[in-house]
Structure formats: structure tokens, C-alpha cells
């Protein structure tokens, strides 16, 4: 890998300043489980790494009025093991445990998990064209292999998916991402952090240059206590989702009072299924209603030849997950 300088500030302002001074070829470093891989592959070649794991962002705190504030440097393992998370937001704990492997979760941070890059094999091979890696070079996945690529919201330029499990749960929960930049702090509601590829797939997120994720806030959300994450995968550990569903459901007297649903591995972003949610509210909690609600979202699906299976698979997993939550 290319030589780089390494900085390890202890407060957010210094981190933001260091990165700003270093220019566009600087990166924040969390657990390194994705960035370091990409550096070895030559996909990322930063001049400066600003290690943000020593910033005071490693705690999970209860918010006044309910909800949790999760520091961006909290390790995935610690997040999944936190009793408050497991009780009040089981979908989040389950999603984190469904990702990667034990060793990776011990290293990976919340901020880094949100900002990880796609695992599209064309993106990670610098000897091949990729619009996400290098705009305007083309997308070999569309005509090549795209079994695990997007069925929703993709563009001519890019059919990659966002690989995170955790982000799918955060999208369903409507978490708020706190960032710090040159112009001060601001917040971005999930799933709005990530963006669809359009004709600019190099940009994964709405973050401005130099902005640092400092925390994620979970709203007080009673229905999240009855929530679940279901990931369909080809291997029981250390495999990215074929399709995943994060769902929270509140059923009263057999009628859906409220729900939150997001899909993973179907798009460039964690995909909040607002049409499904809308179709369900006030409807009876039956398998037929769950199926119709899934169809409402998946009607927009535009699969490629190798991943057409994701459409029926997503429908089945939505129905099954909601059915189990409604029991």
C-alpha cells in the first residue's frame, strides 16, 4: 500500500481540523475492517489517516425523554451486547450480530459500519472498470455477474448494494446520525445518510467533505421492543445478505397500529419500505395483508437476470418476519 501519515487526535474538533488540512486524500479510520482492506487492494490510497477511535465517542448513553445515543466509536460487539439495546431495540442487536464475524465485530465501529463501501467484486478490483471507483469508466457488473446486486433504485451507472446489516436496522428505526464538520455539527435522519447512485455512484452518502460521524441517536420508540432482523444468506456466518429485513410491528386487536420496515441488500442504500408501512397501517395483521404490503414496495423492483430471485425472496422474508412479530 502507499505510504501514509497517521494521526490519532483525542477530540472531534482536532480530528475535523486534521482531515481538513490534509485535503481530499485523507480518511477517518475507525476499526479499519474495510478501509485497510481497500488500501491493500489499491482502491483507497489516502495520504493521511486520522484515527478516530480515541475520540470520546465510545459510550452508549440514555437520552432524556428516552432513546439512546450511541457513540460513533462504539465497537459493533459492544453495541450488540448492550442490555438497553437488546431490550428496547432487538432489531439493532440482531442486525449487528448477523454481520461479519466475531473478530471483525470486535474491531468495527458504528461510524465505520455506516460508511463501509460496497463489496461488488468489480469495485474492489482496480484492474477492472467501475463507475463507483472511478466515475465514467463503466459498470461491468450489469452485463457480468450481479447475483448480489441491487433490485431497487439502481442506475445505468451502478447496480451495487450497500453491505451493512446495522444500517438497515437504523433505517427502520429512523435513527439520527450526528456529524461534525468545518461548519459545525449537524444531524442527518436515517435512511437519509446514504444516497442512490444516480449518475454519481462515487458518492455513497450525503456527508460533506471532511465531515465526521460522531454519534447515532435512537429515538424513543415503543414499538421497537417488538422488532426483529432477518437476514437470508448463503453461509451461516461471515456472508453478506442476499436479502434482509428489519421490522418493528405494533399490532392491537389484530390490526396493525404502526410499523417500521427496511430492506437490506436490495439497493445502494438501506431501503426504508415506506410503501409497505403505509399499506399496513390500519390493516388486519394477516399473511395476506403482509403480502400485499410487500408487493406495494416491490412493484418498483427492476431486477437483473442473475438476481431476479431477490424479488420473491424479499416478499417471503417480509411476510415471514411480520408474521412472526405479529404472533
Amino acid at each position: 500500500m502507499r505510504p501514509f501519515t497517521y494521526e490519532r487526535p483525542t477530540d472531534a474538533a482536532s480530528a475535523v481540523a486534521l482531515l481538513g488540512d490534509a485535503g481530499p486524500a485523507a480518511r477517518y479510520l475507525g476499526g479499519g475492517t474495510n478501509l485497510v482492506d481497500l488500501m491493500k487492494l489499491g482502491v483507497e490510497s489516502p495520504d493521511v489517516l486520522v484515527d478516530v477511535t480515541r475520540l470520546p465517542h465510545d459510550r452508549i448513553e440514555e437520552l432524556d425523554g428516552g432513546g439512546l445515543r450511541i457513540g460513533a466509536a462504539v465497537r459493533n460487539s459492544d453495541l450488540a451486547a448492550d442490555r438497553r439495546v437488546r431490550e428496547a431495540y432487538p432489531v439493532l442487536a440482531q442486525s449487528v450480530l448477523a454481520g461479519a464475524s466475531g473478530q471483525l465485530r470486535n474491531m468495527a465501529t458504528v461510524g465505520g459500519n455506516l460508511l463501509q463501501r460496497t463489496r461488488c467484486a468489480y469495485f474492489t478490483d482496480v484492474t477492472k472498470a467501475c463507475n463507483k471507483r472511478e466515475g465514467g469508466t463503466g459498470c461491468p457488473a450489469r452485463a457480468g455477474h450481479h447475483r448480489n446486486h441491487a433490485i431497487l433504485g439502481h442506475s445505468e451507472a451502478c447496480v451495487a448494494t450497500h453491505p451493512s446489516d446495522m444500517a438497515v436496522a437504523l433505517a427502520a428505526l429512523g435513527a439520527t446520525v450526528h456529524v461534525e464538520g468545518h461548519d459545525g455539527p449537524r444531524t442527518i435522519p436515517m435512511p437519509g445518510l446514504h444516497r442512490l447512485p444516480g449518475d454519481e455512484p462515487q458518492r455513497d452518502t450525503e456527508l460533506r467533505p471532511g465531515e465526521l460521524v460522531t454519534a447515532v441517536e435512537l429515538p424513543a420508540l415503543e414499538l421497537a421492543r417488538r422488532s426483529a432482523y432477518r437476514k437470508v444468506r448463503e453461509r451461516a456466518s461471515f456472508a453478506f445478505a442476499l436479502v434482509s429485513v428489519a421490522a418493528a410491528l405494533d399490532v392491537r386487536d389484530g390490526v396493525v397500529e404502526d410499523c417500521r420496515i427496511a430492506l437490506g441488500a436490495v439497493a445502494h442504500v438501506p431501503w426504508r419500505a415506506l410503501r409497505t408501512e403505509e399499506a399496513l397501517r390500519g390493516r388486519p395483521a394477516t399473511e395476506a395483508a403482509f403480502g400485499e404490503a410487500a408487493d406495494a414496495e416491490l412493484a418498483a423492483a427492476d431486477p437483473l437476470p442473475e438476481n431476479a430471485f431477490k424479488v420473491p425472496l424479499a416478499r417471503r422474508v417480509i411476510v415471514r418476519t411480520l408474521e412472526e412479530l405479529s404472533r
Partner: protein, 686 residues
Amino acid sequence: MTIAPSRVVGAPVNRIEGRLKVTGEARYAYETQVDGVAYAAIVGSTIAKGTIRDVHADEALAVPGVLAVLWEGNAPRVADDAEFDLAVLQTRRVAYRGQIVAAVVADSFEVARDAARLVRVEYDAEQHEVVLREDDPKLYAPDKVNPAYDTDTQQGDPDAALEDSQVVHAATYATPAYHNNPMEPHAALAVWDGGDLTLHDSNQGPAMAHTLIAKVLGLEPERLRIISEHVGGGFGSKGLPRPTAVLAALAALAVGRPVKVAATRHEMFALTGYRTPTIQRLQLGADGDGRLQAIVHDVVEQSSTVKEFAEQTAVATRMMYASPTRRTTHRLARLDVPTPSWMRAPGECPGMYALESAMDELAIACGIDPIELRIRNEPETDPETGMPFSSRNLVACLREGARLFGWETRDHAPGPRLQGRSYVGTGVAGSTYPARRRPSSALVREEDDGSYVVRIAASDIGTGSRTVLTQIAADALDVPLERVRVDIGDSALPFASLAGGSMGTASWGTAIVGACRKLRAQGGREAFFDSGDEIEAQEPMARHAFGAQFSEVHVDADTGEVTVSRMLGVFAVGRVMNAKTARSQFLGGMTMGLSMALHEESVMDAEFGDYLNSDLAGYHVAAHADVHDIEAVWIDEVDDALNPMGAKGIGEISIVGTAASIANAVHNATGVRIRDLPITPDRLLI
């Protein structure tokens, strides 16, 4: 002719080097410490076919710490007759994507790898062909299939017999390309001292590697030493020398310093062998009772344009079941792909997936228990040669497995069979692997303190062979285990065959027992034995291990995810040398079979001509979480016609048949027959 009742052979002795390995003290090739070492990084071709026009190294050479950029234009020469894959940097021809076209040597691995990206290679690219097709007009019959089997065999008129059969099952089965993926990558450290070369190399047999690498480098044998004390897995891919070893030697010569080379995981997908994809047409004809009248097994597979490697996919079909007529064929397409090679039971593993799936389908067509079908087709002698079997206990394995697994309650009707939210079913398949041995030699010496040292250029690639050989020597010398030390992993030791083809223990054990017996018979302090004559004098017989694989699967009714809830392997392998390491090998092989059934697939990218999923996140090998209730047992089998230990090799048999038993269980559970692997969830959305 077997050795006397033993004290330690058979016992569950812990690995002798286990402590060294878990504490990190065991040194693997790349970890060997020498002064002044430099590192080479590979520049792989980015075209699959064509010619190198020029290599521009200026930018790479300008990086501080870079010592040299080697390519065809400036690399030291190797022997003219070296095979293409080992003649590293000797030609401008590119035969597959990822071929080594240049290498950067630098003070550190990081600098070498960084500078490797700055080497600019100009090519004249040609259109490549990389996808195996059943109707490829270039298909031809190779002279032999690996290692020296007849390409085609015919017995009677199977076509006519198929016409006359009451029940016919005909179907095409396919397996994808597979990569061996040992944990330790292929790595070497080359140290020149004048004209003498010491190569610390990760391989499956230092003696074999020594012979071949000396030839490639044009070295007198006594000027080369290969040390491979600890090896982190091979699965066949380290059986033959790899370009990494040659590159280390050439680079060290070029820069005048010791040089280390390790293939990256990505590079291993082009440079270190893999299993060919196969397309297999199976035709079985039977009478109304399920007695086979015809077996036809036609195989299509691939090799590179630079080497003919023809996997012996149909050979097990020649000896597995009785039938009055039979035909087996192998056809090969030479494509612009890396050269395939040995991988995890070459031949038997993919071939028995097809045959044992077809037998399951035939059992259903005949309406009989698949175990009973196999018992009805048990041959008295080797069907192809008429030779007697030294021992054949397939039926005993099937019956013992049926008892242990609870087979008698099985409903043989195909699914779907829904229990809760899963389809549940069970499957069985037979297993077999040849029991061979190769000439080897060993030296045993009594030390002054009354202990013994055995010297043999054997190899322990993680199987426990160092431990097993120590047990064998202790019994042959009739002394406690603690008084014997076995030195292996060095070409300076007496010549030994490689760890491959499930032949290690049988080959090396024969030499060690020979040397120990000689020492005890003739007295003195030292004895040397070469098993060549003993093996040559061996009576011709059909020598094979057998087994039976049982699986139970739960298929998620909503998602199609397959969980193998129970696996049982029952094996007849002669005498088991070490109950602990043998069980580990069986369970490991069965897990690899599970992995083959459900996970593994090297995906060829037709546009670029390389295997796309070239890392362990993309190429799925079964994880611990995929393995649930798994058990391996063996039956008491006495076979005096094998070797002094009475042992059959156990390295490979337990992967054979596993995938078929799982595919058969999936069919029993769901009613869906998968004839091309892997069985991924999307195939089972029923």
C-alpha cells in the same frame, strides 16, 4: 504381514507439534528469519490471452526501497524445458489472466506491493475463451487422465443395454470450479549461498518439490535444499511446485539477497491450481429389481492452453457398482484459463457427486430404498479388471450407518415434507477412494541416550502425520512414544513421496516400519530402508477404502436456506492409526463436502477471464456456524494386503459422496432435485 498388536498405534495421541502451533512458535516458510531479506510482489497479467509488448518499470524503480523490477526482458533464465507455469518471467506469451508478467523486489513487502501497481505492462491482447461448454467443438480425448488412468473405458454394449433396461435414469450433473484455499498461502523464502540454494517453501512434499524445482532451475540436485517444516494446509494445491517458489529463487538471484514471496489470496485464484468445472452425463439402466444393466458416465472438463491436466472424474464409476455393461469417457476443452490441478480427492469427489445423485434418482425410479439399491449392485470383484478387492466393506458401512442414523424410519418418497416452517429430509451416498502407496525411504538411528531418531522427507500439512509416523515407529521399534523423534519436512532427509492421494501414511509408514525392522533384525545403531522393491513386488489387487455418508437437512420453507442438521460418516479404511487425528480428518473432509454442496463456487468472469470472487468473503467455505451435529465413525476392518500397518489412506475419502448425500437429502425434504452445485437458497424457493 501387519505389525504386531500395538501399544500406541491407534491411540488418540495429541499432535506432537500442537503446542508449537497454538503458541505461534512453529515457523512456516514465510516466517523464517534471515538477515538482509527482500520481498517480491507479483504483477499479474490483466489480459487472459495475448502477448506482452513492453514493460515500463521507471515509475516503480523510482520508489525508495525498490531493488528491481523483473520481467521477461531481464529475469534470470530457467531450463528450456521447464513447464509454462513454472517458467516464471521467461516468455511474453500470456495464457491466462493473473499470470505472473513482472515482479517488484523491494526492501519491504509494502513497498514492493505499492510499486507493483506502478509497473505498466503493454499488451497485444487477443480474444479469450474461458467458459466451459458441453458443445465446445474443441473438446478432445486426452491421452490419459490424472495421473495415468485410461481416458475412456468400455465394457459390453451399454447403449443396447440401456434400450433393454426396464428402468432408465439419464441426467446431466455439473460442478463449478473450486479453489483449494488452504489457510496458509503459497509462500517461499529463497536463500542463495554461492551456487547453493536453500528454499523454505510451503508444499506437500519437499522431496518431490526438490526434484522438480532443481530441474526447472537447472541446478545439480545437491545444490538445492528445500525445507518445509510446517505447512498450513494444501488440499492438493501444494502437491506440485508453484510459481511462487521459482519466483523467489529468481528474484533472490537477481538482487543478491534472500527473497520472500507469498501469493495473496487473490493471486491464489490464478497461480496455485483449482478443480476444473465438470459437466457430467450419467445414464443408468436397471431391471425391475434395480439391478444395473448399464452405466454410462461421460465427462466434459477443462484445462489451460499450457498444460493438459485431465481430472479423472469418472474413475470411481468404473469400480463402484456391478453392471454387465459400462462406458466412461473424459473430454477436455483447452481454454484461456489458469491450469487446474489436484484438489481434495480429484476425480472421486466431483464424479461421485454425479454417480451417487444418479443412484438416488434410480432408487426412486425403481421404488426401492437407496441403501438396498446399492447392496443389490455390490460387485464380487473389481468390475473393470476382475481382480479381487483386498477388502470391500461398502455394504457394512451402509448398514452400520443406517443403524446409527435411524434410517429404518425414513420415508423414501420425495418431499415436500414440511415440519413447522422447514422441509426436512435425509439422504445417503456411498464413498470410495483408492488405497495406494508410493516408494519412500527412511533412516532410523539409535542415539546415545537410547532414544531413536527417524529421518524421512515426509510432510505434515496439518493432518497429524508427524504424530502418526512417530506412533508407527514407536511400535515398530517396540519402545515408548517418548523415545522416538521423527524428523520430516526437509529434502535433505531420505527421499519420500508427497502428502497427496491419501498415500502419505501408507507410503511413509512402509518405509519407517522397514527401517525399524531392519534395525531390530540386524542390530547396530542405524538402518536405512527403501520400500521400492516391496511395493513393486506387491500382488496386483483392487485396493480401495469405502464409506457411507448420511445427511439430514432442514430447508427453510420461506427462504430456501439449507441447514445440515445431522451428518454421519461411516468409513472402512483398514486400521486407523490415531483415533483423534483420524476423526479430525474425517470431520474436516465431511465439512468440505458440506461446503461443496452448499457454498463453494469459483465464478468465472467471461468478460475479463478470471475468477471473480477471489477472496474468502466472496468464495464461501463453510464456517463453523454451518456445521451442526457431525460425527464420523469407522468399522473394524482387517486388510493384510495393504502395507505393514494395515492402513488405508484417510485424507480424501470423507469428502467423497458428502455433497451427493446432502443433495439427496434436499430432494427428500423438498422434492427439488439439484443437479448442479452449489445448492443456494434461491434454488429452493418452492
